[in-house]
Subunit: 208 residues, 3 copies
Amino acid sequence: MKSFFMPREEKFFDLFEDSARNIVEAAKVLKDLIYTWEDVEHKVDEIRGMEHNGDNITHEVIARLHRTFVTPFDREDINALAQALDDVMDFIDAAAGAMLIYKVKQPGKRARELADIIVQGTIETEKAVLKLRHRASMKDIRDECVEINRLENLADVLYRSAIAELFDEAEDIADVIKWREIFEHMESATDRCEDVSNVIEGVALKHG
Amino acid sequence: MKSFFMPREEKFFDLFEDSARNIVEAAKVLKDLIYTWEDVEHKVDEIRGMEHNGDNITHEVIARLHRTFVTPFDREDINALAQALDDVMDFIDAAAGAMLIYKVKQPGKRARELADIIVQGTIETEKAVLKLRHRASMKDIRDECVEINRLENLADVLYRSAIAELFDEAEDIADVIKWREIFEHMESATDRCEDVSNVIEGVALKHG
Amino acid sequence: MKSFFMPREEKFFDLFEDSARNIVEAAKVLKDLIYTWEDVEHKVDEIRGMEHNGDNITHEVIARLHRTFVTPFDREDINALAQALDDVMDFIDAAAGAMLIYKVKQPGKRARELADIIVQGTIETEKAVLKLRHRASMKDIRDECVEINRLENLADVLYRSAIAELFDEAEDIADVIKWREIFEHMESATDRCEDVSNVIEGVALKHG
């Protein structure tokens, strides 16, 4: 029986890995956008396209969940994982979109530092997702989650410094409002990587 | 057996339809408020009353859910639907409340456009809710959800334009802060209509 | 059979009570911070330490939930309760943290009033949590929830006044931005107390 259902179950892992890879790609474009500050509109559009792509993956996971009787792990965890991955993407897209709408000038050091952490966080998140299919050891998965958590804490500290500096250094209060929102989106992206890792840790705990 | 439970099950549909109708009414008052900008305090109070009414409906759904053994569809979907309808109402109320607290002047073109979309979005949301009881065809429900999604995308584009214009055109940075919050609430109301439609699509998929 | 599992089940109540007590303590430090405005950095650090403590409790609840077969009440309610308690703590911490980062001056009357309500709200929340273990009567639990709801409504009214006054009275638009965020966090803390009480009321309804 199990072998009969397995091919359909494997599809969930395919979709989660597609979603995780999509997020890594978007994070890299965001970093490139922030570092070079060239072709801004084109790069923001590129991220927006990835966000639509991510939406499609999420919808396919949910539709498949409703149609599938045997799932590789608990239904609510599949739903939570799809949602958390989608949220990471949404915040990367929101950060990029806000930079365009707000017509900000070249991002500074804090934006670059946060972009670095987002790239690292998404890469570790993709690794954690890959461990799910291969039923890695609990220790292996926990190590990955500890690293994602470390990056999230780092992002949090950076975010707080960035906000404090904004009020001290911004030439214009409008810039404070704009960058505060952009930094919030960036910090939220790393928060949601941690949500992904929490779901994966939970799944590993149940099946470990 | 089934006929024995049905009357109690039907009550869930009654409550969801009450909630959806309540949201349409609130959206219409919001639109009227924004277009005429007369009797502001009275209209905001009216919406606040509808919000309390919606809270009561939501509480009744949840209380009934805890007491009912056989439900017309999955318990978590009943909970999610009640919550999503409640959230639409909360954001309509928050938008209206913020206009009053912030003592804003007559709303402009973008606020009117967003109010139009909220009215359309809630009307389509009510239609989708009605289709649930009558177990409309999957195609029928999906068409409704596509329309709600289209409206949400439209609201998103409008929201971004509204925010960009705020920074360019507002006379006063305080107005930027105030209207940014109001526009956020309005855009969130259409987001939550989409959440409602996602729950309904999920239910239809499972039972289709 | 039941007596065999009970000791492990009791641990969940221990953890929820630890979490609730932790929140009360944090609320009291926040109130003290706001009233005296002395040793600001030290008190904010103290709250941050309590927040980490709360995180550990939440993680232990979730880990235990994954490992435990028989739980004292529904798994999703255990998860929701742990999360809601954690959220109360997060908003208390966010309010304190923002005061430090933003280098605000001595908080005013509205901040003191909101701090009072947060202390009261967390004390009532702890009482509600204690009633869970002792399987208090439904009426008893509902009375507690009505009181928490009353405090939340009070906080909401205060918050709206505080925000309106900010725009009218703040000397500097930067202060408006800073205090609006702090007040939002404070109001959200009382919102989350209400979430806790909703979960507890739901559990009581199911088991009443």
